[in-house]
């Protein structure tokens, strides 16, 4: 009923291989894009941007990055917080060292630098797998945070040990610093999120993605049919690092503005992004968005509901919030271990036939 597939025939392999093969899906995707670019910027205020949109967009990028590594290539990583810190500090150093260059390029370069660091810490993956690799990446997390705390070159020898994003503009409009308009920050992040999602989708539906999934599903068979495990694993680490680095750079420069590394990029951040990926759905780009939305929006929603609507005291609401979110995670994972993306797929299957049972 809602999903009209009948009559939607494909006559070429290009059509068959596109991201949204069903017309209805495609139009909804365009509608979401138009709304995100042309409607939302005009109606959002400071609260919506800082509480909802920026964290959602930025965590989505990080989740996409981690999903490529964990969901597609099967290499568990607990170093996401540390890699985001690399992105943030790389962006900061570039912003202060080359103030005349557009911040757009700083963010991309920060992603590139993070990719390099990520490949370096991905080297152990050639020898160790699974939980043991997770522990090895934990070393990256602690080492990187320690390094950004101790080596004062990274924070330009500032007395506080913090890094602060100076004001930078794109097309004459400030996107970082105190004077930033909410819509400018939002649009700047949105461009990155959309671009990252499209790039990630293209990579995962092509040969690169197939190599990663082959390594994930059965590494020995992958090698015997011609996948170079070294290159496949390290390219997953590199590309994952690129996205995570961009997320880290935006998180620091656009969202927070000022960062103290242990607080902003600690181990909790690694777990948060990993949970997003698991709850959203391993091996799914949509799942990365769903997971980020779940963990960013739900607390905000609950807070508004409990404090705003029901008038409960803030501290009580804050505690309840943790309990409810925790409970929901457990319930969701029991109901659908493959995450929200799988739930969505099942719902779509049902909608194709609704209201008929067969």
């Amino acid at each position: 009923m809602f999903y009209r597939e009948a009559g939607d025939f494909k006559t070429s392999y290009v059509e068959d291989g596109q991201t949204f093969p069903i017309k209805f899906d495609r139009y909804r995707y365009y509608a979401v894009l138009i709304a995100a670019f042309a409607v939302v910027p005009f109606i959002i205020n400071d609260y919506w941007v800082n509480a909802v949109f920026l964290p959602f967009l930025i965590y989505s990028i990080a989740a996409i990055g981690l999903n490529i590594l964990v969901g597609y290539c099967g290499q568990v990583s607990l170093g996401t917080g540390g890699f985001m810190a690399v992105g943030a500090y790389a962006c900061y150093k570039l912003m202060t060292a080359f103030p005349e260059v557009n911040i757009f390029f700083h963010v991309i370069c920060a992603g590139g630098i993070t990719a390099g660091v990520c490949v370096l810490f991905g080297l152990p993956s050639l020898r160790i797998k699974g939980f043991y690799l997770a522990v090895a990446t934990l070393a990256a997390q602690f080492f990187l945070v320690w390094m950004f705390n101790r080596v004062s070159w990274f924070y330009n020898y500032s007395a506080s040990g913090q890094i602060n994003a100076p004001e930078r503009t794109v097309f004459g409009t400030a996107v970082t610093g105190a004077e930033t308009a909410p819509w400018a920050a939002y649009l700047f992040c949105l461009v990155f999120t959309v671009a990252c999602a499209i790039l990630a989708r293209n990579l995962t539906r092509g040969m690169a993605g197939r190599k990663w999934m082959a390594i994930r599903d059965m590494d020995i068979a992958a090698e015997i049919i011609g996948v170079n495990p070294l290159r496949a694993k390290l390219s997953a680490f590199g590309i994952s690092g690129f996205f995570v680095g961009i997320a880290g750079a935006l998180f620091f420069a656009v969202y927070l503005g000022a960062v103290e590394v242990g607080e902003a990029f600690g181990i909790t951040k690694s777990f948060l992004v990993l949970f997003m990926v698991i709850i959203g759905g391993l091996g799914s780009i949509f799942g990365s968005f769903a997971g980020a939305a779940f963990l960013v929006l739900l607390p905000v929603l609950l807070k508004n509901l409990l404090v705003g609507t029901l008038g409960w005291p803030t501290d009580l609401a804050a505690h309840l919030e943790f309990m409810i979110v925790g409970g929901l995670i457990v319930i969701f994972l029991i109901a659908e271990p493959h995450g929200l993306a799988q739930l969505w797929r099942v719902a779509k299957e049902k909608l194709r036939l609704w209201p008929f049972p067969h």
């Binding site: 092509g206 082959a214 015997i224 170079n228």
Partner: protein
């Protein structure tokens, strides 16, 4: 024996070419255990070559040597006339040697189509940046290779499960998908490790037909291990028989059938 450079014609009129792969005095040891002891044989272009033997004879080890998974301690492997240096399994694969496994080794999380497309790895080399923007070479390559893959899907009659995740398929179909993935590589030698293991008679007949068709239609050289003697004798042009890591027979099915050493190995001999 036959001359290395010239081929021969089989009874049913197929032309068999020169030697494409030659194993010379291969010895493979695992610590103190000798899995393969000084074995030599060759594989000719276009033929179906079977390796048989009782359990533990070293057949799978032999296949693993050919596919580069094991490196023998002694002996040489000649491929297309040149000595093959020690290389990694993926390098061997890229030279055009594809294989299937005794216990299916498909990628369960991927669709049938993606599994078979993975087999095209040798033919697809668009850079990662081209793939990320999905323009130019990456897109063209994807479509061209999809066409080849669809032909193989057609050939093996698995059109209806094209988009199904492999994990959900029954055993017989999985075996067929695995064959499709190996075929997708357009290999010069196709290695099949017990392609009929665990199948019922009907599935075995289907699989035998596919193997013969592949050989006939694409002229693919096939080396296979199989326990079902009826199948082996029917399919293969020449048979190598192994027992306890040694070669005890080599020749046409008829020659092997009448070889006393082979009969002894299979039926046992009285030790007095």
């Amino acid at each position: 024996m036959l001359d290395a450079s010239e081929g021969y014609t089989t009874e049913d009129g197929r032309k068999i070419g020169g030697v494409v792969m030659e194993m010379k005095n291969i010895t493979l040891r695992f610590g103190g255990v000798v899995a393969i002891k000084d074995i030599s044989f060759d594989i000719r272009e276009g033929e179906i070559r079977a390796i048989i033997g009782p359990n533990g004879a070293g057949k799978s080890s032999m296949l693993n040597v050919i596919s580069g998974f094991y490196n023998p301690q002694d002996g040489q492997v000649f491929y297309k006339g040149a000595l093959r240096p020690q290389m990694k399994p993926y390098q061997v694969a890229r030279q055009g040697i594809a294989r299937t496994f005794q216990n299916i080794a498909l990628f369960d999380g991927m669709s049938v189509l993606d599994n078979i497309m993975t087999g095209r790895i040798r033919q697809m080399d668009a850079g990662i940046f081209a793939q990320a923007i999905w323009k130019g070479k990456a897109e063209r390559e994807e479509v061209e290779n999809r066409e080849t893959v669809e032909k193989i899907i057609d050939f093996l009659e698995i059109q209806h499960i094209r988009k199904t995740p492999v994990g959900r398929l029954p055993y017989g179909l999985k075996k067929r998908v695995e064959l499709a993935r190996a075929l997708a590589a357009e290999p010069s030698i196709l290695l099949l490790d017990e392609p009929m293991a665990g199948m019922n008679v009907e599935e075995k007949e289907d699989m035998s037909r596919f193997i013969l068709d592949v050989n006939d239609e694409f002229g693919t050289t096939i080396a296979l291990i199989e326990h079902d003697m009826g199948v082996v004798m029917d399919l293969s042009d020449r048979v190598v028989v192994m027992d306890y890591g040694k070669k005890i027979g080599d020749g046409t099915p008829d020659e092997v059938r009448n070889n006393q050493a082979v009969i002894d190995a299979y039926l046992g001999v009285a030790h007095d």
